[in-house]
């Protein structure tokens, strides 16, 4: 059943079923494939009706697309999850300490752990944030830590998303869909709930209200608008939290606070969960041509009049060159070894590493330092000779713009295909909330799955799908 060079999360190399999947397996064995296929189509119809779509830029027709959903859950045992979540908590704590440090005394640079140019030459680093104290001392209120697995106990962090991680609405809707379609499946498994995420998010954001807030904190979600690829998620989260979904033109500065235009006049906002990038946040302080932001919001922020979540400038830690220092960063701020490993990473800015990377391009994955969404990367083993040749030129021209990693044999999890269960590569994005009250990790997260056989690219913009992710209760 499974290729024995790869780690399959459901099947042992000898074809027997791993413990976490046993109950699912017996349910599946008793299910009628035709009925499952019908349910699969039904799920798609529900997603379309609910509007759980993402927008694709530059495609007038079919501008709203569905992310394919696979009905086989990805199941994580309690013991496995306990270990992973401890590692995530440690990493997120380190990230916040790091973000505070680089905007204040830069101890990590003084200590010689991180070269100063990693910050000074980082496009996401905002000089304007130097010396700013974000309310509650929190920089990354919402974090998505992308994990991949290669063995029974081997998880790697693939990247940190401390800027504006998306996908949590899929995590929630996937679960709702599974509960709706296969209620009997949940009767036989004790699956940890994810549905309290919106309340937890609201509580976590409210706990970060600025000092100037004197009543019950008013939270709002800031979206770039209905044409943004994640608009569905923005409206979903606002709706689930019971708060307003605002755009830049709904807001203005009133008496030193940020206020939204309501049918009854302007009303003050205390915490803004923004899904607009730093550059577009404030035309007076950042990109002057931005239509998406609020003129003067950054000045209000500096003066303690509003909480912006995540804090401006957190994108520094999403940078893949910074990523390569994460083991050192975790150790520097927590005094402990990093529990979650990084994927070994060559920084192409370093001449020795560059030489190694150029010699082994066919075996490596090369990524742009600032890239995201699976764009601008080379997957050596599957790329054509021509692609490798062209990428080599780009890499030689701007080595500092790239990092390289070995091609990991990502774990697989079965999907329900025409021929039955068939393995596909998966990754995992758990969602983490940070407030002065602590760090809250939703059990599970979003599992993305590469639907093409053998493919390692799980991004929804490039044909990836999603699965419901189960963390089982302890026995």
């Amino acid at each position: 059943m499974a290729d024995d060079t790869l780690f399959d999360e459901m099947f042992e190399p000898d074809g027997s079923v791993r413990e976490a999947y046993r109950s699912f397996d017996s349910w599946f064995a008793g299910a009628d494939p035709a009925e499952l296929r019908a349910k699969s189509r039904e799920a798609e119809a529900v997603f379309r009706l609910t509007g759980i779509t993402f927008n694709v830029y530059g495609q007038a027709e079919a501008a709203e697309r569905l992310i394919p959903f696979d009905i086989v859950p990805r199941i994580i045992a309690a013991r496995e999850w306990a270990k992973v979540s401890r590692g995530i908590e440690q990493r997120v704590r380190a990230l916040n300490a790091f973000l505070h440090d680089i905007h204040h005394r830069q101890e990590i640079v003084r200590a010689g752990v991180l070269p100063v140019e990693m910050i000074a030459r980082n496009d996401a680093y905002l000089q304007q944030m130097i010396g700013v104290e974000p309310p509650g001392g929190i920089y990354t209120h919402i974090v998505g830590v992308d994990l991949v697995r290669t063995g029974p106990d081997q998880f790697y962090v693939l990247e940190d998303n401390a800027r504006t991680p998306s996908g949590v609405s899929y995590m929630l809707e996937n679960r709702e869909t599974m509960l709706h379609m296969f209620p009997e499946l949940f009767a036989g498994n004790r699956v940890r709930r994810v549905s309290s995420y919106p309340q937890n998010l609201h509580a976590s954001l409210a706990a970060c209200a600025p000092k100037q807030c004197e009543q019950d904190p008013v939270v709002a979600v800031l979206t770039p608008g209905i044409h943004n690829s994640a608009y569905y998620e923005h409206s979903f989260l606002a709706d689930q939290m019971g708060v307003e979904l605002v755009e830049g033109h709904d807001l203005r500065v009133v008496d030193g606070r940020i206020a939204m235009r309501t049918t009854q006049g302007y009303k003050t906002i205390d915490v803004l969960y923004r899904r607009v990038d730093d550059d577009f946040l404030d035309p007076l302080n950042f990109r002057p041509d931005s239509q998406l932001g609020v003129p003067g919001i950054f000045d209000v922020y500096r003066a303690g009049g509003i909480t912006i979540a995540n804090a401006p400038g957190t994108g520094v830690s999403d940078d893949k060159a910074i990523y390569s220092y994460m083991p050192e960063i975790v150790e520097f701020y927590t005094g402990e070894k990093a529990m979650l490993e990084n994927v070994p990473t060559w920084r192409c800015s370093d001449p020795d590493s560059l030489g190694h990377v150029l010699d082994n391009l066919e075996e490596l994955v090369v990524k742009e330092v600032h890239g995201s969404g699976g764009y601008g990367m080379l997957i050596g083993p599957t790329a054509s000779k021509k692609d490798v040749r062209e990428f080599r030129k780009k890499l030689e021209a701007r080595p500092g713009n790239y990092i390289a990693q070995p091609t990991l044999s990502l774990s697989t999890c079965p999907i329900f295909a025409k021929t039955g269960l068939t393995p596909r590569h998966v990754d995992l994005r758990p969602f983490v909330l940070v407030s002065p009250n602590g760090i809250d990790i939703t059990p599970g997260g979003l599992t993305r799955v590469a639907l093409k056989k053998g493919s390692l690219v799980v991004n929804s913009s490039q044909g990836g799908g999603t699965k419901d992710t189960w963390v089982l209760e302890e026995e």
Partner: protein, 313 residues
């Protein structure tokens, strides 16, 4: 609630109402074209005028032909008010105000758009036309039903209702105004079959043929028809009914917010004017003039509501 959200709800329901009104006009036009082919061209012209699509149509086409008019009104993208555009605009506004809607209302409008996008993807064949027109009306009714059945009675609901009735009052007044000459007392004496066809068209366009028969039997006079559509508060598409509703919903907003705004005075004035009118006084002033005046004040009220409740910056 956000001003933008109020505006989005207002327009979402205006567009839905418009799509339904256009479907009904096409249905009526088609019926006359089939039963009285000699008068078809003239009837299609008044359908276009009623749907405010006449001038733009003639810019794009040299002649008035039934199938081209139907296509223009239902799905020609060059016509900003074609049903397909209306439904798309309604759904875009619904996405904008998604957080203010219940899941049921959102799904009803989303499904309305998905269904009609499919039905109107290509030219509608004559044999399919009745079904498609039925679908348009039915989908709009589904959204309205979900609104009634699931939404909290608060400001969100009021703005949705006000949008509905501003649009409906506008449509009924325009329908009457395009046909006012067949309703003048002098026309009563003529009593030709042509006039009867046009009276029938008016009644059918507001889904009131049966209602009129119930109240007035088989005798139709233009005077009764005009009174029915303008002053009868029992007919859900009459001007009097629409304004009673607008008055109610603005009243709820006034008591909810504890503020009286210029739009309340304007709506009350229009409402009182309708209540004090009789069909005689209307004909005395001139039907055309009364309707023109009404259309102007209705549009003025819409603009005042937009500014009073801060739909835009």
């Amino acid at each position: 609630m956000l001003g933008k959200t109020a505006g989005g709800l207002f327009w979402m329901f205006r567009y839905l109402e418009r799509s339904e009104n256009i479907a009904r006009l096409v249905e009526t036009g088609q019926r006359i074209a089939l039963t009285r082919p000699d008068t078809a061209e003239g009837e299609w012209a008044s359908v276009l005028k009623t749907a405010w699509a006449h001038d733009a149509y003639l810019e794009a086409h040299d002649t008035i032909q039934g199938d081209v008019v139907v296509n223009w009104l239902l799905r020609d993208r060059d016509n900003p008010s074609c049903v397909l555009n209306c439904v798309e605009n309604a759904r875009t506004n619904a996405r904008l105000v998604r957080t203010g809607l219940t899941r049921e209302v959102w799904e009803a409008v989303n499904e309305c758009w998905m269904t009609l996008k499919e039905d109107l993807a290509r030219k509608v064949q004559p044999k399919d036309l009745p079904r498609v027109l039925g679908t348009i009306k039915q989908r709009s009714a589904f959204v309205r039903g979900a609104l009634h059945g699931t939404m909290l009675r608060r400001d969100v609901y009021d703005f949705a209702r006000i949008g509905t009735f501003i649009e409906r009052a506008d449509a009924t007044a325009r329908l009457l105004d395009v046909k006012y000459y067949v309703l003048l007392p002098s026309a009563a004496g003529v009593g030709s079959p042509l006039d009867n066809a046009q009276w029938e068209m008016i009644l059918r366009s507001v889904a009131a043929e049966g209602a009129f028969r119930t109240l007035h039997g088989r005798t139709r006079t233009p005077r009764d028809i005009a009174r029915f559509l303008i002053l009868d508060g029992r007919l859900p598409r009459s001007l009097a009914f629409c304004y009673a509703k607008i008055g109610d919903n603005l009243g709820y907003l006034e008591s909810d917010y504890g503020v009286r705004l210029p739009s309340h005075d304007q709506a009350d004035a229009i409402c009182q004017h309708l209540q004090q009118s009789t069909i005689d006084s209307i004909f005395e002033t001139g039907l055309h003039q009364v309707l023109q005046d009404f259309l102007r004040r209705n549009a003025g009220l819409a603009a005042q509501i937009e500014s009073d409740y801060r739909f835009m910056q």
